[in-house]
Symmetry: D2
């Protein structure tokens, strides 16, 4: 029997990889896509398989013309119906003054955070609509709801992402496709993103400072539980927007 | 062994009763409180017991001085530690022009929707804080985020409720108490509230009009799954605010 | 000829007094109301008169039963038609932990910030509606849109105030009554409120720290220009919600 | 003496042209830019000159590489210091299902509504920063705060525009540059945009249906008064975000 597919676009060792593993544990075939690091990708796939799950991995440059479109078509043709998509591409480039934000950087932010989501929906929703069901879980960031200094590229791109989630929901929710905008409002304990941005030493310092019992940062495996829950919500009670942060962290709206 | 208690304030046959039952199925003792209808209350308790769960029921007039405070103290003394509170009091009185909204009605809305929540937190958080954990799930309404014509009492009260959830979260989240504001953005398939407001005939007409497969209104048993999930979230990944609506319904922000 | 009245509820030496003076300069009769300090009130009135304007002053305890209602009726009967109301009552009591926030304090916050606005609208809108025009300018606070730790009373009351502004606007805007919610998002250079809360020495220190050219705090006379502009907007282009802060200050949504 | 310049990007016969004229009446030299219709542009310029004002007009294709940048530099070099910019480019293409929204249309929306604003700020803010003052007034749309069905391109682009206004404000407000996001929440009585979209007959029908006294749509000359006021606000009391709609219209958040 063909397993339903959970496609993760942006599958590192943080949220993306853990959400894929969570769906695999529930019987989905996880298709993990990331831009680079074949070895890291292979490790995620084999970790799922060791647990008895089923997964595939593909390198995918999401901003390349046709890359998402072709991957989605190939999955539907060769692996199985994509029942859930986890759109987990980040576009954080750190704080940069306007003068230090090139037109190129501004545009790449949009291509990753906004346009790639549009292309994902355009590629995959027709098949979901034909089947009358599907789920699109979109990882979002605080920058989608407030624009801090230095976040010109990131916030503009994430603000576009959030509104696009709303327009997709407005058109496709009545057709049985569940779109959720999941606002990750805090630092994630993720070696592939935060770890690389900070470097190993500062990353470890931050983990220890927040530490308590290793739960002062968002723990990806725990985040994955909520992604999975949202995807399983009955269609009479769907969540479109929710936030996630560690108990010890301050919500974005509090000073 | 003493079971943890899930206290439901506002336990009718809709969200409140179903959330209580969901927690009971997971091993909590459900304490169901509602203002009136002893027979209905007894039925909820016995339904839980028939399923093998454990529950108690109390009539409670939440706006009466001391009523919440005394009930909370008695539960902690006689039944067990309140680990979860479901604050589910509504204050919808239908659309009324300003001229038809008495000062009394305006005040009662606040006493039910805002002040009773303050008193609930004041009564129960000290014990939760001493234990280092606890959950407060607050049912909220669209009126908490937008004020429609005729909703003077309801919207003012719910707007207060939402801000109070934020101040409670800001103070108590770092102490291990999880506060969640759950925005019910649509009609609930609940005979005790919507059913009574519309009368049996119009209620059934609405159910059939939305009907499809009896999931065009928010189904309380399904809503309860998300309440329970939020209460089980690991403290490294807590949700403070989320919305819930039927797939076929339009979110409040869309026209 | 009878001058149109601008009624200010909450007229100290900060925003309230300056807005009254601004309307008086434009030909309105300013009616200034405040809870206490007859001498301060007399000074505000005589300052307006020295400038050639027209004003009256009344002590008014807004939370007293009937006080707003009777004052409004007396003004309409004895002074002139209330064309503009500036609702400028604050309810900030400083940061207090939940355990230090009495039920009484929580209720008084609501009586001042929310219920008094309801009573103001109830008292004055019928005459405005009969005339087909009127303006209600509501001073609001950051606490209306986010609840910080320690702000239980203030935020719940201001959250209610904001939603009430929306319900009032929804019902009365089509009837020609302009309701505006003006979010004061920063400290005001106001000796009667901030000055008293901090004490003279800390107030002066803050002014100097922000100082630059005495415009690091919100300058009430400048704030008054925007209140006046909003009241003069043509009904084809009304603002319902706007924010105000000093250029050197950080908006509430930025960390 | 050199007059300060008010540069309007997107100057048709609606908001853009009227705001330019309003600034010209106050002594600014208005520089009006629009993509096409030299005759219409000439008419706007000569209307300002007939009133005794001073203006220039340029055709400008804002999405063309370098076009905004070169125009801004030429104005600073040849006409005068740009003290105010009115960024008034719309990107509404009507409601289109996702399947009917081409990648090209989605991208053009972003180039007009988001990227052109980034380029405008990048071009003009350095000179404003050097002078220690300046104003950027950004016309925005309801789609910046909620994504309706069919608005995929428009809402994503406007959501990005709004967050970009916040990041610009966060960085440049302390440097004396005032950024305001003006949410036009309703139809504007503008022959060049709404009139062309509807055609002359339906446009006139809408005007009459809303009509009353020709103020059921947003009247551009009245809108211009608020743009001008915001640009004149003292830096101790700046507005970042405000909405504008006709009294007879319903705010976006009300159903």
């Amino acid at each position: 029997m063909v397993k339903p597919v959970c496609l993760v676009i942006g599958a590192g060792a943080g949220i993306g990889g853990h959400v894929g593993a969570r769906f695999a544990r529930a019987g989905y075939h996880a298709v993990l896509c990331r831009r680079s690091d074949q070895a890291g990708l292979d490790r995620l796939v084999s970790d799922i398989e060791k647990e008895g799950g089923s997964a595939s991995g593909f390198l995918l440059n999401a901003i390349e013309d046709g890359a998402i479109e072709e991957r989605a078509a190939a999955i539907e043709a060769e692996i199985g119906p994509i029942e859930a998509v986890v759109f987990n591409l980040g576009a954080q480039i750190g704080d940069r003054a306007l003068a230090d934000t090139s037109a190129k950087a501004f545009e790449v932010g949009w291509r990753l955070a906004t346009f790639a989501l549009f292309r994902t929906a355009t590629s995959i929703f027709p098949a979901m609509e034909a089947r009358g069901s599907g789920t699109l879980l979109v990882t979002s960031a605080t920058a989608a709801v407030r624009g801090n200094a230095g976040q010109h590229s990131h916030a503009a791109a994430m603000g576009g992402r959030r509104m696009l989630c709303q327009t997709l929901n407005a058109e496709f929710s009545p057709k049985g496709i569940h779109v959720a905008h999941i606002l990750i409002d805090g630092a994630v304990d993720a070696p592939d993103t935060l770890g690389k941005m900070l470097g190993p030493e500062r990353f470890q310092q931050l983990r220890e400072a927040r530490g308590l019992e290793n739960d002062g940062l968002l723990v990806p495996a725990e985040v994955a539980e909520t992604y999975f829950h949202v995807a399983q919500q009955h269609r009479s009670a769907w969540t479109h927007e929710l936030d996630l942060r560690a108990f010890s962290d301050r919500p974005w709206w509090n000073h």
